[in-house]
Amino acid sequence: MTGVRVLVGTRKGAFVLSSDGTRRNWQVSGPHFAGWEIYHLKGSPADPDRLYASQSSSWSGQVVQRSDDGGASWRPVGNKFSYVGTPGTHQWYDGTPHPWEFARVWHFEPSLDDPDMVYAGVEDAGLFRSVDGGETWTELPGLRGHDTGTSWQPGAGGMCLHTIILDPVHRGRMFAAISAAGTFRSDDAGETWRPVNRGLHSEGIPDSDAEVGHCVHRIAMHPARPSVLYMQKHWDVMRSDDAGESWYEISGNLPTDFGFPIDVHAHEPETVYVVPITSDSLHYPPDGQLRVYRSRTGGGEWEPLTRGLPQQHCYVNVYRDAMAVDSLDECGVYFGTTGGQVYASADAGDSWAPIVRDLPAVLSVEVQTRS
């Protein structure tokens, strides 16, 4: 029987939401790790019962949890994230050098074909890899050690490596995105990296089209067409048709091109979703109306999706890792809000309904599909 499992990370624990393929009736499990911040949890594509969760708190730092039974039970694994060598410095908010300090794991990206291999994007921005199911972690220092590393600066949310994308066609190619450094690409499985930000334009930095320094909020790829990338930047929705070598703007008729998440329809590589947010100082939807915008043309032309979403008095935000799609025949789209709602659409965004309404603020949403 087909079905989906939605993995939700919140400010006060993790929740697992399950349904059959109709996506009408949901079972809610949680809170797991109650009271802790769960920045992200994600399942292995090679073994859907293998899940990794990033659990952290200001008091007790980082914990990594692993499940081998689809979230029914969990156990803590390795939580030692040590930068290779002398960590050195990056720029602080005031431009002074600041030592690299590990704060938390923002994002796990399990390998496409090995359940025991998983990448972790961390704050302060760095990339780690485990090849033993999360028991031990080793930095891939080529990213942080890039010539530009000493000039990277944190965004308002910290200097986080929040997006990791593994190219399923060009094996060894991967992308990472850092706020506020930009997008980086490796073609050798993460050993060496180079910035791929040509075409980005950011008014908040001294050199608006600099090689690095852009506050990239999220990038997304359709696995069947990995040369095309979509990006939600601090401001601007962008697209690359050449694996990040160059970018052009596709904001088109969006009411605002500020936002955090961006995702691609599971079966239509030209169908893209964003959630426009008023501005960098007003982190809520324009006019109090929560609207997902969908483009069926790969950007440029966008339509608001409103059915089932609150169209008045709505002042929530949707964080960068809090949108995901399933891969059932009729693509499902999911997102979570800072107000604790998780909305689902079983018809590619045409209509929406809340799965849950009153969770703690949602930090991340991932979906696993059972075909």
């Binding site: 109650a34 802790w36 708190s57 200001s58 008091w59 007790s60 914990v63 939580n79 030692k80």
Partner: protein, 98 residues
């Protein structure tokens, strides 16, 4: 036998029910107790002290016998009452918002 009391979130993390009782060989210092605690419960590594530096995490405090030992030398002897097990060594999550 040294008695250690942990905050609830760390007890849940390490699947600990109630007080922890530890055997410490040699001098009973904060470092020796913390080392023994982390050896007995590896899930606690990194949650009380930083993995690399061994520094107490900023929002964690160490109390015993109504004294705050958080800033004391980790290699100084703990009070006799803690070493004898009549008083517990408390690892406390500092009061803060959230």
């Amino acid at each position: 036998m040294i008695r250690v009391i942990l905050p609830a979130h760390l007890r849940r993390l390490a699947s600990i029910d109630g007080e922890v009782k530890l055997e410490v060989t040699g001098a009973v210092t904060q470092r020796a107790v913390l080392d023994a605690l982390e050896t007995a419960y590896p899930a606690l590594r990194g949650t009380i002290r930083d993995h690399d530096t061994g520094q107490r995490r900023a929002f964690i405090r160490f109390f015993a016998c109504e004294e705050d030992l958080s800033h004391e030398d980790l290699d100084a002897p703990l009070p006799e009452a803690v070493a004898a097990g009549t008083e517990p060594y408390l690892i406390v999550g500092a009061m803060a918002g959230g």
